[in-house]
Each structure stands twice: as C-alpha cells, then as structure tokens.
Symmetry: C2
Subunit: 216 residues, 2 copies
DNA sequence: ACTAGATATATGTCAAGTGCATATAAATAT
DNA sequence: ATATTTATATGCACTTGACATATATCTAGT
C-alpha cells in the first residue's frame, strides 16, 4: 500500500467468503451446493458463503460458514484463492476469498437432512452454477488432487478409524483412477501420517482389515 | 454468499493488493521494499502495493503495481494468499490480496535508480517491516521454494539466455543450499523446460558454457 | 472338519530418478 | 606445450514406486 487512502478513487468493496466443501459420497468426489433464494441467479445452485464481518478475520468467517453446514470433526479447512473480477456479481463489486474444506460425509448428514435447498453434487455431474462458481470449484478440485500426495488431506474425508482399503477408495475417487494396492499401501505407511491400531474391522464377509487412525 | 447484502451488518472493506517482488541479486534472494511516506508505520519498509480500483480485477491491480516497479519481461506473477486480520492495519479494516512476482534483477534497475525510498533487501537480512508484511514475505519465500522443483519459476529470474551454471546459482540462492552439478544438470534437462541454443557464452576465462533458453 | 472363495498383507523384481564420484572436453594463461 | 579451470558426460549405489505374485486369514458352504 503506497498511496494514502482516498475513498473517492478507491471506494471500499464488498468482501465475501465462499466455501468449497467437498466430501466423498458413494465413491464419488462431491461438493456441497446451496440453492439461491435471492436474485441474482435466483434458483441456481451456488457455493455456500457469506459476507465477512468487520471484526472477523477471513479464517474466522470461513469457520463460521463451515460450522453452519457441517460438524467440523476431523475436517480440513484452508484458504484456496481469491476471485475479484469486476463483473463476477451483477449487483455490485464483490471480492470473494474462496476456502477449501474437507469433511467426512457423515458430518454433513445433519445439515442435509430436511434441507432441500442443500445438496451434494458429484464433480462428474455438476449442475449449472451461479456466478464464477464453476471456476472456483475447478480450482478446488485441482488443488485437492495436487495435495493428495504430499499432505494428509484424504484423512479429513474419513472417520477417525478407517481401513487402508477405505483410504485407497478415497484417493481413487479424487483422482478418478485405479491405484495399485501394494504400492499404495507402502506409500501410505511410509508417509508417516497414519498408524495401525492393532484392532480389526468387524462384520465383513471376508478377512477383516486392520483399522488405522491419523497420527497426532 | 447466502444472505442478502445488508450494508449495516457487513459494511464494505478496503481491498488492496500487495506485491512480493523477488529477484536474485549477488547470489542472494531479495525482495523489493518501499519506505512508507505516510502513517501508520511512517518511515518503515513495506511491500509495494495499492488499493484495488472498482473497475479493476485483482490481477489487473497486481499488474499495474508491478508495471510501476519493473519492466515486466520474462517475469512471473501469480496470486499468493489473502490476509485479512481485522487489526492488520490500525487505521481501518483492510483485506489485502498478496501477489508473488519474480523478475530478473536487470528489470528492476530503472525503478531503483535514483529512488532512495526503494530497496532490494536480501531475505537473510530483512529490515523491520510494516503491518503483517513479515508474514506475507515468509509465505512468498515458502511458496517459491516449494514450486522450484515442479514449475519453471527460476527461469523468470534470469535473462532470456542463460547458462546452466547461472540457473543452478539461482536455485542455490533460493534454497540456501549447494546442489550437485551433474544431478542438477540432468534434472533440468529432463524437466523439458529449457532448450539449448547451440551458442556458447563468450568472454569467460575458461571453457564457455552453452546458452540455454526457456522453451516456448 | 474341511474346502472354496475372497480379501488383507507381504515380498520380489524392474524401471526411473537422484546423489555422488570420476572421467573427458574445451577454453585461457603462462 | 602444459597447467588450470570450468563444462559436460558417464558409472554406480540407493531410493521409490509400479506391477506381479505369493502367503495369511477370514466366511460360507458342504
């Protein structure tokens, strides 16, 4: 910031936070959408979001919006990217800070139940989205795929105890490809993100797998 | 954005773009700083930046500020991260979108000459910075180091024709470590980012190296 | 009980990538 | 010419991951 603040030349802008809340449901990477009840784009699906309060940090605003949609246990939240095209909202100039969130699908159940203005849309069948939300959603998917290999993001999509098979299913859903089982297994164990519990899953029709958990 | 816009509950905020303009000078990774001429933090060093105009996208604002400081030939500009702590500016609420820029040091010479409110500060000897600019600068350095291996960012710090030795010097300056020469050479050629010109550098006291250029 | 079937887990081998040491090539200075 | 210095090339060990295959462990069915 070099020049002094001149409100006439540089009027303040509306600032929002939009949330790309992703989860894996039925083997497909999906994103939470909310039907718009107001113009513009009334009736279209859009990312959940909200304006940033004056006394609130960006992270706090993102947490607030996330907490409204999901029980935030074992999830992941990080800033994604900021979008500020002058025409992205026809009403007025809005700059949005997009956030990237991951939660196990069970954490979304309470919010989804009985709210028909909310839905989980799979990435391979997204509806027509409002504003520039298609670009935001694509940005999030790309980031997720890119981080999969060097950050324990996939763990945020699983419940606290999980099998290696379940972890692999999550990776395959995100990448859209099949992975080699022994190689995946060794890679995950080498990363040092997870630890075995010694306990096996129960109820399966075949040999039960060991349950793992995220390392603290 | 879910709720309707209520200016009383969510007044607009000032939005700025701050630029972390980095280069390698004398074998050291450095950042362009500007001395503040106004309160707050008057006299302190800070990142160059400015308010975002109403009709201007974030990228356009970043380009405008960059063009003011450097001849933008062969450089790199990308959005870094947004900072919006409510108290980051004591005057008022300011959200800043930080950008990450790389240019060869020669592109900065015109701006630096005769402007004693501008300086290139090496990362290993940064002065006391205004606002939350220390955090922004650290974020940029981390991103730069992280991208070095999988994106051709180092090329943006060199003139169009360069030797592999010069490219290695840039990498070493950024990472702060010495690298193995044959391994570095092979790695760079495998990446497919550069191509030989068949022409050799001239004037050196010893065997002249081949000049390379970035692939289109 | 035993066997078949299915899945979890372990191992062996190969190719690619990287660090390190060393060898060869090409220029200048004396 | 020869020494010196740097560029470029090559050989070798080590690590990592893909893939194939082997072994272990459970249930279901006879």
């Amino acid at each position: 910031m070099s020049e002094p603040y001149d409100p006439a030349a540089f009027p303040p802008l509306a600032v929002t936070v939009d949330l790309v809340l992703m989860t894996v449901q039925g083997g497909r990477l999906s994103v939470l959408l909310q039907r718009r009840s107001e113009e513009p784009h009334k009736g279209k699906w859009a990312l959940p979001g909200g304006f940033v309060g004056v006394t609130e940090s960006l992270d706090e605003a993102a947490h607030r919006i996330l907490a409204d949609k999901a029980r935030m246990t074992g999830g992941w939240l990080e800033q994604l990217y900021s979008f500020g095209d002058p025409n992205r909202d026809p009403r007025m100039r809005v700059v949005t800070i997009a956030y990237f969130a991951l939660v196990p699908v069970e954490s979304l159940a309470p919010a989804l139940a009985g709210h028909d203005d909310l839905m989980l849309a799979p990435f391979d069948a997204l509806p027509d989205l409002a504003f520039d939300h298609p670009a935001i959603v694509n940005h999030a998917a790309t980031r997720l795929r890119g981080k999969l290999d060097y950050a324990p993001v996939a763990l945020a999509l699983l419940s606290p105890l999980f099998t290696l098979r379940a972890l692999q299913d999550v990776h395959e859903a995100i990448l859209g490809t099949k992975l080699n089982k022994p190689a995946f297994r060794r890679r995950m164990l080498d990363r040092g993100w997870i630890e075995g519990t010694g306990v096996r899953e129960e109820g399966g029709a075949f040999r039960p797998a060991e349950l793992f958990r995220a390392k603290p």
